[in-house]
């Protein structure tokens, strides 16, 4: 069903190896034969680029949604990117506006200790 296709694609786009996650998800019993064939035909590089774009957009929402977070990124880009990478893997994208995503990132940091 469509919701399962969306769930599979979303999980793949949040993973560091989207294609591997996609392949592992093909066994889901909630996929129809057609859906499984369609997902199996997705190009690995295309999926990886899609995942990068999705992740990049989430990052931009965070640093543009809260000026302080943008400044923190400027102070130490690598540390911030490392924390953001973990956040994007652990927190599903379910926010509409940048401010909400920025708040979610800060909440996640408080809860998990951020980049540690």
């Amino acid at each position: 069903m469509l919701s399962e296709v969306q769930r599979v694609l979303l999980a793949a786009c949040r993973a560091r190896d989207p294609f591997a996650v996609l392949q592992a998800s093909l066994a889901s019993p909630d996929l129809t034969t057609d859906e499984r064939a369609w997902l199996a035909s997705i190009d690995a590089d295309g999926l990886r680029v899609t995942a990068l774009i999705v992740t990049k957009l989430r990052f931009e929402r965070i640093v543009n949604g809260d000026e302080r977070l943008g400044q923190r990124f400027d102070a130490d880009p690598e540390a911030f990117a490392r924390a953001f990478q973990r956040y994007s893997e652990e927190v599903a994208p379910s926010f509409i506006f940048p401010g909400e995503e920025a708040e979610a990132f800060e909440r996640w940091e408080r809860t998990t200790g951020g980049s540690s």
């Binding site: 190896d17 302080r68 102070a75 401010g99």
Partner: protein
């Protein structure tokens, strides 16, 4: 053998930091007429304008070595995070030029020039020494040491006892340290003073105080990422300027169309894309 397209693109992006770097990627430099300004002349102009020393690297004779050097310099520029590497590009104007145009002596392939282009000292840094991108590699230490000798002599000849640009600003950064928006704004403004021969870069090299050194390193990172005319996005791309955060923006509100961040090319995004692209899969 020819340089890879990816490396050539990186060279073009990095060109503002190393004049003539993209020329290293050509398989037969002499056979192709240059369509742009002369990199060596541009470097001399920048040195004069900034009152900065120049680090001139002789373009290797063989294609294989040219490709190696271009790749090594690109690695330094593209993957550099260590202040030791970043500061090296902030301390001098870099240029790759034909050996015949440089005041080299026997066996030398790098020469340190003063702001008017006169030879200060030469170095032997074989191409192999530029590979292995780590912050503590031998050639980086050699280049910093040469710049230290030049800077020490220059400072010994200085007569003014007034505070230098960056001196009071650095004190303020060290005294503050609280991660507030004002603090970051102060960092951004002070980072603009991390120029060749500056008080901040010299203090970073000489201070025994770890706290001060840490503050200098933070400023160096800011100076490296600070948007300015030397740090270009790819050709044809203009960085989107966000005048204010979009946190309160919703559909229909002012700025709502930029809420998702789509099609807003920013250096921050390029950094993150590179980080994510190079981060190994779990």
């Amino acid at each position: 053998m020819n340089i890879e397209r990816r490396t050539l693109l990186q060279a073009a992006l990095a060109a503002p930091w190393v004049h003539g770097l993209s020329d290293l990627g050509q398989d037969k430099p002499a056979s192709r007429p240059s369509t742009g300004p002369d990199p060596f002349a541009a470097a001399l102009g920048a040195m004069k304008q900034l009152a900065a020393p120049g680090l001139a690297i002789a373009i290797p004779e063989t294609e294989a070595e040219r490709v190696k050097l271009a790749a090594a310099l690109n690695d330094m520029l593209e993957s550099a995070q260590a202040p030791t590497v970043l500061a090296l590009f902030l301390r001098a104007v870099w240029v790759c030029a034909p050996a015949a145009r440089l005041p080299l002596k026997n066996g030398e392939n790098v020469v340190l020039l003063d702001p008017v282009g006169a030879r200060v000292e030469g170095l032997q840094l074989p191409v192999e020494q530029w590979e292995n991108p780590s912050a503590d590699r031998w050639c980086i230490g050699q280049l910093h040491a040469a710049l230290d000798r030049f800077e020490k002599a220059r400072r010994a000849a200085m007569r003014s006892k007034d505070a230098e640009p960056g001196e009071r600003e650095l004190e303020a950064v060290v005294a503050s340290g609280a991660p507030t928006p004002e603090y970051y704004r102060m960092l951004q403004e002070t980072a603009a003073l991390c120029v060749p021969g500056s008080y901040i870069l010299w203090t970073w090299r000489t201070t025994p105080d770890k706290h001060v050194r840490d503050a200098c390193e933070q400023l160096i990172r800011f100076a490296w990422t600070r948007p300015d005319e030397r740090n270009h996005l790819p050709f044809g791309v203009v960085e989107a300027k966000l005048e204010k955060p979009v946190a309160s923006g919703g559909c229909g509100s002012p700025g709502s169309m930029i809420a998702c961040g789509m099609a807003l090319p920013q250096r921050r995004s390029l950094f993150v894309l590179r980080f994510l692209g190079e981060s190994p899969a779990k």
